[in-house]
Structure formats: structure tokens, C-alpha cells
């Protein structure tokens, strides 16, 4: 065995995403990448780097700051048989083009009576990175509320590449939310999903993963919070609470089988969600488990996330709002005390 065979590639998540895109663009000439700074710059986080050189300026298109125009452009292109990947640089910017996302991309398959599909990927970066209220949201709950959109948010390098491949191949529109706090992290920073094969592969959309098995409490979480939850679970184990951490990976659809199977064993569910708590993923997940397992299935239910507050600027304030390993550990201890 040579050294190159045993050493995993230490690429970062942006590189994994770009590699997933490159392989799909090689396989299907109908795949396009369109957005601000995606071509020459290769994306502000580098997640489209190398695509311009590989595929040229027609398939990898730098646009003006005109999200409404280029998001709607994806609609016309999809009607004409293309598979556009549009990049909304920060998910917070969706406000200026949500019209084309929720009234056109999400609804046209339905409004056309199934006659027109919309194989569009809305690739965007969410999550906290110290950039305060207008550049730190996750918003997956917002997209998930609207019918017609698959919504996914990977937590590690392996999934980032494979889920992007699956998103591009999907005939349903997919909102692909990267986490800004993860994009520049390297494979060596991860204890799960760290090995990224060079060849093409996909990770089916809609399946959750048990990242850390446990028997006392189920944590359901996703995206940037997964590694924090795993770190907190390791500490909690030393204090007698054996936590199972589920990486949901997909918000629409939710993998009810994996969540319900786990909760059926632990009888305790803690949802950790970087998104706003109100009217979102945490409430949906808890309700869905009750609908499936019944009112008596759980001895503990809790949620930990942003309590409906714009993400503040100062680090001291931010830490009071955004879940991290320390706050998740505290939530685990509350759950343990409540059981």
C-alpha cells in the first residue's frame, strides 16, 4: 500500500462542491452555472472554482447583480431543457428574487399539471460566520414552508460533493444550502464524512445519517450544527448521557424513518436548529414524530436554536443566540434533567 492510497485528500468543502459540479457538468452538457462572481472568481467561497476554465463562459456565466433576472432566467432555461445551477451568493439575498423561486420554479410543475419540470438547483450559502443580521441566516425553514422545493443542507465534505451531484441530477428543484462556517474547513477538520473520493458519486437526497449512535437522547440537527452536536455528545457521554446525533441532511423531504426509529429507541428528542425556532423545522419535526409515533412515544421533547432574533454583530451577543457545542451541551443537560 502506497502513502497516496491511505492518505485521504485534505480538500475543503468548497472544493468538494466544485468537484461535484465539475463532474456533473462533464456528464451532462445541459448543466449550467449562473450567478455573481461564479466564473472568473470561482465563487466568493471558491465553490465554483475551476469551472470557467473547464467549461467556458457560456456554461459558467458571471452575471450583473441582478438576482431577479438570473433566477428567472433559470426558469426559461429549464423550460428549454437546460439544468441550471444558479448561485445566490448568500441565502439572505433571496429576498430580492424569491418571486422567481417560490412562484415560478417551485410551482410550475404543479401549475402545468405535471407537463413542465424545473430541474433547477438554487445553490446558496447560509449560516453564521460573524457577519451579523443580513449575512448570517439559514432560512431553510422558509424554503421548506413553500410547496415544490426540495431543501438540503450538508454538514461534511463527503455529503457536500455527493448531495450536489444528486441535486444537479434531480428533476425537482433543489435549494442547496451550504454553511459558510464549513465551506473553508478541510477534510481533516471532520470526524465524519471526511473522505471524498475523486470519482463521481451521489448521496441520495432525503436520507438522514446517524453520525453518532446513542441510546438515551436523539438529537436531530443539520448543517453547521452537526459537528457541534457531536462534540457536545462526546462531553455528555462522560457525564452519563449517551446521545444519538442524526444529521438530517435534507429538510424536504425529512427522513421520518430514521428519526422515528431513533426516537422509538431513546424516547427523547432534542432538535438543534440554527434557523429561527418559530414556525420552522423544529416544530415540524416534533409534530411529525408525534403524528407517526403517537402522543405517548416520548418522555422528553425539546428544541434549541435561534429564539426568533436577528443574528447580532458583537461576538458576545452572537454567542448568546447561535447554537454552538457549549450551548448544545447545556441543552442536553436540560434534557437529561427533565427525563
Amino acid at each position: 500500500m502506497t502513502i497516496t492510497e491511505i492518505a485521504p485528500r485534505n480538500i475543503n468543502i468548497s472544493q468538494a462542491v466544485a468537484e461535484g459540479l465539475r463532474l456533473e457538468m462533464e456528464a451532462d452538457e445541459k448543466v449550467l452555472v449562473i450567478g455573481e462572481d461564479v466564473a472568473t472568481q470561482g465563487g466568493v467561497f471558491g465553490s465554483t472554482r475551476g469551472l470557467l476554465k473547464a467549461f467556458g463562459p457560456q456554461r459558467v456565466l458571471d452575471t450583473p447583480i441582478s438576482e431577479m433576472a438570473f433566477t428567472g432566467m433559470a426558469v426559461g432555461l429549464a423550460m428549454d431543457g437546460y439544468r441550471p445551477v444558479i448561485e445566490i451568493m448568500f441565502v439572505d439575498f433571496i429576498g430580492v428574487c424569491l418571486e422567481q423561486v417560490y412562484n415560478a420554479i417551485a410551482k410550475i410543475p404543479y401549475m402545468s399539471g405535471g407537463r413542465v419540470d424545473m430541474p433547477v438547483v438554487i445553490k446558496t450559502a447560509g449560516g453564521n460566520i460573524g457577519s451579523a443580521a443580513q449575512h448570517s441566516q439559514t432560512l431553510w425553514g422558509l424554503f421548506a414552508h413553500l410547496p415544490g422545493l426540495r431543501v438540503v443542507a450538508p454538514s461534511n465534505p463527503y455529503d457536500s460533493k455527493g448531495m450536489m451531484a444528486a441535486a444537479v441530477r434531480s428533476n425537482d428543484p433543489v435549494v442547496f444550502i451550504e454553511h459558510k462556517g464549513l465551506l473553508l474547513k478541510r477534510a481533516s477538520d471532520f470526524t465524519f464524512g471526511a473522505s471524498v473520493p475523486k470519482e463521481a458519486y451521489d448521496v441520495p437526497l432525503g436520507s438522514a445519517a446517524i453520525v453518532r449512535p446513542g441510546s438515551d437522547l436523539t438529537i436531530a440537527t443539520l448543517s453547521g450544527s452537526v459537528r457541534h452536536a457531536v462534540a457536545a455528545a462526546e462531553v455528555a457521554a462522560g457525564q452519563g448521557i449517551d446521545v444519538e446525533v442524526i444529521d438530517l441532511r435534507s429538510i424536504v423531504p425529512l427522513d421520518w424513518n430514521t428519526v422515528c426509529e431513533s426516537v422509538g429507541r431513546t424516547r427523547s428528542l432534542l432538535v438543534v436548529d440554527e434557523d429561527y425556532l418559530g414556525f420552522g423545522l423544529s416544530g415540524e419535526l416534533i409534530t411529525g414524530v408525534i403524528e407517526r409515533l403517537g402522543m405517548g412515544a416520548m418522555d422528553y421533547v425539546g428544541r434549541h436554536g435561534n429564539p426568533g432574533v436577528p443574528v447580532p454583530a458583537a461576538l458576545s451577543l452572537e454567542q448568546a443566540i447561535v447554537p454552538d457545542a457549549e450551548s448544545i451541551l447545556a441543552a442536553i443537560m436540560r434534557a437529561g434533567a427533565a427525563r
Binding site: T63, S66, A69, T71, G72, D80, M111, P119, G206
Partner: protein, 326 residues
């Protein structure tokens, strides 16, 4: 199609008027249970459009789209059936009169004012990727040009050199707000300068003049880049059926609908030595009979099965709430 005969032209204008009138009967009979927007009074523009649009060109339209669909060659029966909420409609009754889609004919509409323009941009870019001279038409109203999507689309189409023809039907009213109170520029054609593209205003009641203007815009778009045609017209009905239309001066409205009806103007022009009035009568009767027969047929169709109401949300068949009582 550029050299359309006057008899074909006139018959199509009448057919479009009768089609919209057939839709009005659906509101009265409650066969159409939602809102309805007709383009009565704007037929000359749609006929002019039909003379230049090719099968491989795309067309995106608005909430007031029936005549544009006819101009694009959408078969009348599935079109009327969709407006009448029938299973036999072009979208199976899932879309309704504001949401019409025909992928093969590169035709779509949206109920959101201004939102059709970015979609047209996508069609225009697809033509560029294919190396085709097929043009993307976007027909919009004077209300939409004040939305951000108009500006973004015109700028991007121009900077990318795309074959986009924007036809603005300026009917002078954005629901209750008059054009004079909504536009900083005296005309919309002059806004073309801001995007370094040609733009012209034309009398949209005059089918020949409108056809000539669209012809010039299309010729430019097939080879050089986007163009704007602002066609002046007047909305004969309220914004939607049921609109009390109290914001418009009723005297002016009566005068304009009576003396500036494009069908009346066309008939007067043709009667003056171009076509025999007897032939004009026959064309009118023929168009009316076609629509009468169509309407009678569509009314016999069924509405879609309520058991299908959850179908088609996802192309893949994904049903997130399957099995959950709701």
C-alpha cells in the same frame, strides 16, 4: 407570415374578440370561478405579433395573456378549456387562466406583473447557447415596466446581446393608477436608450403599423440584440371582471371604446375599397361560429378529479405529507 392577407388578419382579430367574449360568459355562468382578465380592445397587437413569431421563438406573457396564446399558435380548445377550469385544459385545470404553459411551443405566462421578463431572458439565453436565431418575445403591460425585473432583464439582455423582443402593451392603466402618474418618462420607448437598444412607440390600434414596428424589432433581435416596441392601446374592460372601474372617466371610456375600437377601425379601413363588406360579414360570421362551437364543446367537459389535487407538486412524485391526514 409577414405577408398575411387582410382577410386572414381581420378574421383573426374578430376571432380573438369572440374568444374573450366567450371567456366573459364563463364569469357570468360561474364556469370560471376565479378572476378573469381580458384583452378586449388590444387585439391588433396580438394579431401583429402573430405575423412575426416563429414556431421556434418563445413567448412569455402575463395575467392578460389569452390573445398572446392564440398568437403563438396554442390550440384554442385546450386554451379555452384551461380558462374554464377543465380537465381537458392545457394544464389539466391546475393552472387556470393566468398560468398557461406549453413547453413544446415555448410559451408560458405568469400572474405576477413583471415576472415574465426574466423568464424570457432564459429563453433568449437558451437560443444563444444553441446558436439559434430564435427570438424570445416578452409581452408585458405598462404596469410591469416599473418593476425591478424590467430593468434587470433589459440590462442583462443588452449586455449579453440576446435576442429579446419586449412588446409593451401600454393600455394606460395599471389597475387604477394612470400611466401619467406612474412613469417618469413620457414614453416607455425612450427608456430603451438606457439599455443601448432600439425602442419605438406605435399606435397599437393600427394592426399594420404595429406589425411593421414588431417586424423591425424582430429583425434587430435575430441578429443584433434586444428591442422594445411600445404599442399604445386602451383596456376596454376593467382590470378584471368585477372591477367597478370607477377610477376612469366614464365619458372618455365610452368615447374611446366606441370610436377607437381596433375592430371597428379595421373594418372601416378595409371597407374603403380593400375588402368587400359582404366578405367582412362572412369573416365575422365564420369566426363567431368557430368560437360558439368551441365554447359549447368545452362546456361539456369535466373538471379535474379532486383525488388528483395533490398530484404534480414534485416531478419525482415526492409527497412529503403522504399518509398524514390533513
Amino acid at each position: 407570415m409577414v405577408n398575411a392577407s387582410w382577410s386572414d388578419r381581420y378574421r383573426l382579430m374578430v376571432l380573438m374578440r369572440r374568444f374573450e367574449e366567450a371567456c366573459l360568459t364563463g364569469v357570468a355562468s360561474k364556469a370560471v370561478h376565479g378572476e378573469l382578465h381580458t384583452a378586449i380592445g388590444q387585439e391588433a397587437i396580438a394579431v401583429a405579433l402573430s405575423e412575426h413569431i416563429r414556431a421556434d421563438d418563445s413567448l412569455t406573457s402575463t395575467h392578460r395573456s389569452h390573445l398572446h396564446a392564440i398568437a403563438k399558435g396554442i390550440p384554442l380548445r385546450p386554451l379555452l378549456a384551461e380558462i374554464f377550469e377543465k380537465k381537458t385544459g392545457m394544464c389539466g385545470g391546475f393552472g387556470g387562466h393566468m398560468h398557461l404553459f406549453d413547453r413544446e411551443r415555448r410559451f408560458s405566462t405568469t400572474g405576477i406583473v413583471g415576472a415574465s421578463l426574466p423568464v424570457a431572458l432564459g429563453h433568449a439565453y437558451a437560443s444563444k447557447l444553441r446558436g439559434s436565431d430564435a427570438v424570445a418575445f416578452a409581452v408585458v403591460g405598462d404596469g410591469s415596466v416599473n418593476s425591478g425585473g424590467f430593468h434587470e432583464t433589459m440590462n442583462m439582455a443588452s449586455v449579453l446581446g440576446l435576442g429579446l423582443v419586449v412588446i409593451i402593451e401600454n393600455n394606460e392603466w395599471a389597475i387604477s393608477v394612470p400611466f401619467s402618474a406612474a412613469s417618469a418618462t413620457a414614453t416607455l420607448a425612450e427608456r430603451a436608450v438606457a439599455y443601448a437598444v432600439p425602442g419605438e412607440r406605435v399606435d397599437g390600434l393600427d394592426v399594420q403599423a404595429t406589425s411593421d414596428a414588431i417586424g423591425r424589432a424582430v429583425a434587430h433581435a435575430r441578429t443584433d440584440g434586444p428591442a422594445i416596441v411600445e404599442a399604445m392601446c386602451y383596456r376596454f374592460r376593467g382590470h378584471y371582471e368585477g372591477d367597478l372601474d370607477l377610477y376612469r372617466d366614464q365619458g372618455e371610456k365610452s368615447l374611446r371604446t366606441e370610436t377607437k375600437d381596433p375592430l371597428v377601425l379595421a373594418r372601416a379601413f378595409l371597407s374603403d375599397g380593400i375588402l368587400d363588406p359582404v366578405l367582412l360579414d362572412e369573416l365575422e360570421q365564420s369566426a363567431s361560429a368557430e368560437i360558439d362551437e368551441l365554447l359549447a364543446s368545452v362546456l361539456l367537459d369535466e373538471q379535474p378529479d379532486p383525488a388528483s389535487a395533490r398530484d404534480h407538486v414534485f416531478t419525482s412524485g415526492l409527497a412529503p405529507f403522504e399518509g398524514i391526514p390533513s
